[in-house]
């Protein structure tokens, strides 16, 4: 049952990603000019003029002289077999640029997820069970405060406080001694010594919504008759709340994973820029600005795939959690 569901969802990703690729390509092509325009701009800054002939040669070399459908076809047919094309700027394959950043991006996302969901869950439960109490208002307020503070502002302030009070710059993901070293427990610890800022900044931004969702759903469930049934059985209050209404209120809480994935990726772009994380976000930003077409396109495709996978995961979790979905 579950397997068939899984396969169906996987198959559905194919046409979806195809449409996404068209959108992505259109988005990258939307700004005026192309990679070479930006290149010329950069050259001019260092006093170097570039003549038309060189430009034409490069344009041809990069295939930028072809029509858009041809360029798209070249790109998508490569993508289909796992070839992300070449990064114009780095003169290396786009995938080789992306691949080292992808795991760190995933680590950041997953850690943020675990943090945000892990914190929102108990707070949401607390806030629903103790609705309209001082505690409820306090957690709601702080949740919203996190949402209301622009990520980049929070990130910079935290960084500055680190320098101000600990004399350490906490940006980046690794201390010097671990950078470029093979993975070890100490390196993982070092990673999280840096990563927590990003997790905090990104996590607090979505915490409020998560708390709100958990709270609202749990409130709905708390008034359901099955809660009374459980109570009438003689179950202890907290135990029954955790076993029944919380369990069911988890469904929407899980199913929004898919929806929050893109938001998290977006937020991660800005935050990672400020925090100097070597994740995909800053790379995407710079490649988009440089109009490094294949690199930007590849990253965008990966990000979209991540969101699709996120939705898939949330659907599967949902199916695991809720037999009604499984049997439907």
């Amino acid at each position: 049952m579950l397997l068939r569901y899984f396969i169906r969802r996987l198959l559905w990703m194919i046409p979806f990603l195809f449409v996404v690729s068209i959108v992505v390509f259109a988005l990258i092509q939307a700004p005026p000019g192309d990679f070479l325009t930006t290149y010329v701009a950069k050259m001019a800054e260092s006093n170097e003029g570039i003549d038309q002939a060189t430009l034409e040669r490069m344009r041809e070399q990069y295939g930028l002289d072809r029509s858009l459908p041809v360029q798209y076809w070249k790109w998508i047919s490569g993508l289909a077999v796992g070839d992300f094309g070449q990064s114009f700027e780095w003169n290396q394959s786009a995938w080789s640029v992306i691949k080292s950043r992808l795991p760190l991006t995933l680590v950041l996302m997953l850690s943020t997820f675990i943090f945000a969901w892990g914190v929102a869950l108990p707070i949401g439960i607390y806030s629903a069970v103790r609705k309209y109490t001082v505690g409820d208002y306090v957690v709601t307020f702080f949740g919203f405060l996190g949402l209301a503070t622009p990520n980049f502002l929070l990130a910079l302030v935290v960084l500055y406080l680190g320098v101000r009070f600990f004399g350490v710059h906490m940006g980046g993901l690794f201390s010097d001694e671990y950078e470029g070293e093979p993975w070890s427990l100490a390196k993982v610890i070092d990673l999280y010594k840096h990563l927590w800022i990003g997790i905090l900044v990104l996590g607090t931004a979505i915490l409020a919504s998560l708390i709100r969702i958990m709270r609202a759903n749990l409130l709905d469930e708390l008034s359901k008759p099955y809660v009374t049934t459980a109570r009438a059985k003689g179950m202890a209050e907290w135990k029954l709340i955790l076993k029944y209404p919380v369990r069911i209120a988890l469904n929407p809480f899980i199913s929004i994973i898919g929806i929050y994935f893109p938001a998290l990726i977006s937020g991660a772009v800005v935050t990672a820029v400020v925090l100097g994380y070597p994740t995909l976000g800053p790379l995407m930003l710079q490649s988009l600005l440089a109009q490094d077409m294949h690199l930007a396109g590849g990253i965008l495709m990966i990000m979209c795939s991540l969101t699709v996978v996120g939705m898939l995961i949330s659907d599967i979790l949902l199916a695991l959690l809720d037999p009604r979905v499984r049997y439907d």
């Binding site: 010329v40 070399q61 003169n91 290396q92 992306i98 680190g162 004399g167 690794f174 800053p282 490649s287």
Partner: protein, 639 residues
């Protein structure tokens, strides 16, 4: 500190070599000594040239060890590496940016007409992999790349082309090579000292030839394996080129730099860039210690410049100016100096102006074109700028009113070019404008053009480049409003900025004005010769570069300057070169095509207090890619 830049000094620099008396008694870094002991490296004497260049340390003889920590910003920051590894060209600038001194060429001879240059390479100089560096490497560039249409297309680098003909090379012996031009090329030695003419010594033939079809008939299989477009693309990926990141991305590429790339090279996926000492580096200090002193140079990769500022405050940057020199940060640096444990360096600004105004003299709109091309109008705009106020607010009181020209103290300093119309005199400005017949005004007090339209135009500014410009424009807009001229700031992204230039679709743009210390190398503000840089008349530049086929026909004055420039370029005699250039300057001063705000204040840089042998003051320029010419290889960490 005043800087005297004298052309004549060049002659003195020829053949400047100091030979240590204890020539064969060299020392090396402990790690290298161990490698030698382990048999992994030849002894230091064998690694060094027969006569290594002897560098006199700035302060004292250093000790080996340590890592210099710097920071890179995201993409396109390859010149960050270049500036520190220093341009290892045939020649280089002396630390004061006053003369060209020998570098990889230990001496040279110049033919009388300045069209033939014979360079003597240091015998026994080795690439970083131990292979000898010889005249063949120079020939490899000239014969296999410079003239190769696959590699450079129809446009080989302009610095090696005179009158449309590329440079030719002749191998005299292994260590002597003659480079020839079809016409005199008086600027050649200086060009070689800039970061933009290093090609002759960039590529190790023994390594790079494997990517060249002449030497490797099967290069196509490598092209395919790499996914490159063609062999030239593959070649650039592996061996780099000027101005592309790939130059620093391949740890296997042999170089002549003091530090060489490690596995953590500068690639798109780098999270940190580490360069380590070149065991074959060809310079020693006065006590025969092989340079560099410092083991490694490490760049963190940041996206946001503020991260770097924070790293400075945390004492995590040992030496850097790039991305850190915005004047707004100066108070921050001083406030946190103790915490960060750093010194603040003074970098002599080489720009002619902090903010140059470029009215589009090729304006499409005929009414505006007429106005813009009137010198009185430009004078009025200049007189209408309250420079003191801008200096006070935007530049924190640093700098003095100035136009765009060679800086005071420079041999080519022209008082008129630099100082005319810098006083704030709105009354006179208004008179001048009235004199142009722009007397009609609308209800809001703005002057009207003859066709009845308001005299109004946009000023394009790239805010990401220098935030100060946007601020200054705020003030200038207000000040010009008092002249009855409406200007609006149009903040644009840099690509758009250039696009608007290319399509001649702008009225005024703001840019910095290079050439304050190197006016002959950056003449773009006094002559429309740069297709992107001469923003006051890009169409003229196009006309000039295309030999009159393209663009718009320039003014007579500009044509005179073009003639003088041609004369200048073919003049071998340095003194005469200078005289010709003075004429160009005078012509530009009379035409008064561009104007600016202020002589830019000096920039700052940061160095750790532990880092020694760093001059506390040196020029800042791209043609003098600081701090490279101050020779970072002789920096060392105090124990």
């Amino acid at each position: 500190m005043t800087l005297y830049w004298k052309m004549g000094a060049l002659a003195l620099s020829l053949g400047l070599v100091t030979t240590p008396t204890w020539a064969q008694d060299y020392n090396e870094a402990p790690a290298l000594a161990e490698a030698v002991k382990a048999g992994k490296l030849p002894p230091v004497a064998e690694r060094l040239p027969a006569k290594p260049e002897v560098i006199t340390p700035v302060e004292q003889i250093g000790t080996y060890g340590g890592t210099i920590r710097r920071g890179l910003r995201g993409s396109s920051d390859h010149n960050n590496i270049l500036r520190f590894l220093s341009p290892q060209g045939l020649t280089r600038w002396n630390p004061d940016f006053t003369e060209v001194v020998p570098n990889l060429a230990e001496s040279w001879e110049v033919s009388d007409d300045a069209s033939e240059y014979t360079f003597h390479l240091r015998e026994g100089t080795k690439w970083s992999d131990g292979a000898p560096f010889t005249a063949d490497d120079v020939l490899f560039f000239v014969n296999d790349l410079l003239t190769n249409a696959d590699f450079y297309g129809s446009a080989p680098p302009a610095r090696f082309v005179i009158e449309g003909q590329p440079m030719t090379a002749e191998k005299i012996d292994d260590y002597t090579v003659k480079l020839s031009f079809v016409a005199p090329y008086g600027q050649f030695l200086q060009e070689l000292a800039t970061p933009l003419a290093q090609e002759p010594v960039l590529w190790a033939k023994h390594y790079c030839s494997q990517f060249h079809p002449t030497y490797n008939s099967d290069v196509q299989s490598m092209v395919d394996a790499e996914g490159a477009a063609d062999w030239a693309d593959l070649f650039r990926r592996k061996c780099g080129d000027l101005e592309i990141p790939a130059r620093w991305g391949n740890p296997d590429r042999p170089t002549l730099d003091p530090w060489v790339a490690t596995d953590e090279a500068y690639t798109g996926d780098a999270t940190r860039v580490v360069f380590e000492r070149n065991p074959y580096f060809w310079q020693v200090d006065t006590e025969g210690n092989q340079l560099p002193y410092v083991d490694k140079v490490r760049w963190s990769v940041e996206q946001d410049a503020e991260s770097l500022v924070l790293q400075v405050l945390a004492g995590e940057i040992d030496m850097q100016a790039r991305h850190l020199d915005a004047s707004k940060n100066i108070p921050v640096y001083y406030e946190n100096q103790e915490r960060g444990g750093y010194d603040i360096l003074e970098r002599l600004n080489s720009d002619a102006n902090a903010m140059g105004f470029y009215l589009n003299l090729n304006e499409k709109d005929p009414e505006l074109n007429k106005v813009f091309n009137s010198k009185d109008f430009r004078i009025a705009l200049s007189l209408g700028i309250n420079r003191d106020e801008i200096i006070d607010l935007v530049y924190l009181g640093q700098g003095e009113p100035f136009q765009i020209g060679a800086r005071p103290g420079h041999a080519l300093y022209n008082e008129q070019l630099g100082r005319q119309f810098t006083e704030y005199d709105p009354d006179r400005a208004n008179e001048l404008l009235d004199g142009l017949g722009l007397t009609e005004r609308d209800a809001e007090g703005y002057r009207l053009l003859p066709d009845g339209k308001r005299l109004s135009f946009q000023v394009d500014v790239i805010p990401t480049l220098q935030v100060e410009w946007v601020d200054a424009m705020e003030l200038v807009n207000e000040q010009w409003k008092a002249l009855g001229i409406e200007t609006t700031t149009n903040t644009v992204e840099r690509t758009l900025y250039y696009e608007r230039g290319d399509s001649n679709d702008f009225e005024m743009q703001v840019w910095n004005a290079p050439g304050g210390l190197d006016p002959t190398l950056s003449p773009r503000n006094v002559m429309a010769v740069h297709p992107q840089g001469s923003r006051f008349a890009l169409q003229w530049a196009k006309w000039y570069l295309s030999g009159g086929k393209d663009g718009m026909e320039p003014s007579d004055s500009m044509k005179r300057r073009y003639d003088l420039f041609a004369e200048f370029k073919s003049e071998a005699d340095l003194q005469k070169q200078l005289e010709i250039f003075e004429k160009i300057h005078q012509e530009a001063a009379d035409a008064f095509e561009v104007f600016g705000v202020a002589l830019p204040a000096n920039k700052v840089g940061i160095k750790s207090r532990k880092l020694k042998n760093v001059p506390m003051s040196f020029p800042a320029a791209w043609m003098y890619p600081d701090p490279g010419p101050t020779l970072p290889q002789q920096y060392y960490f105090e124990k």
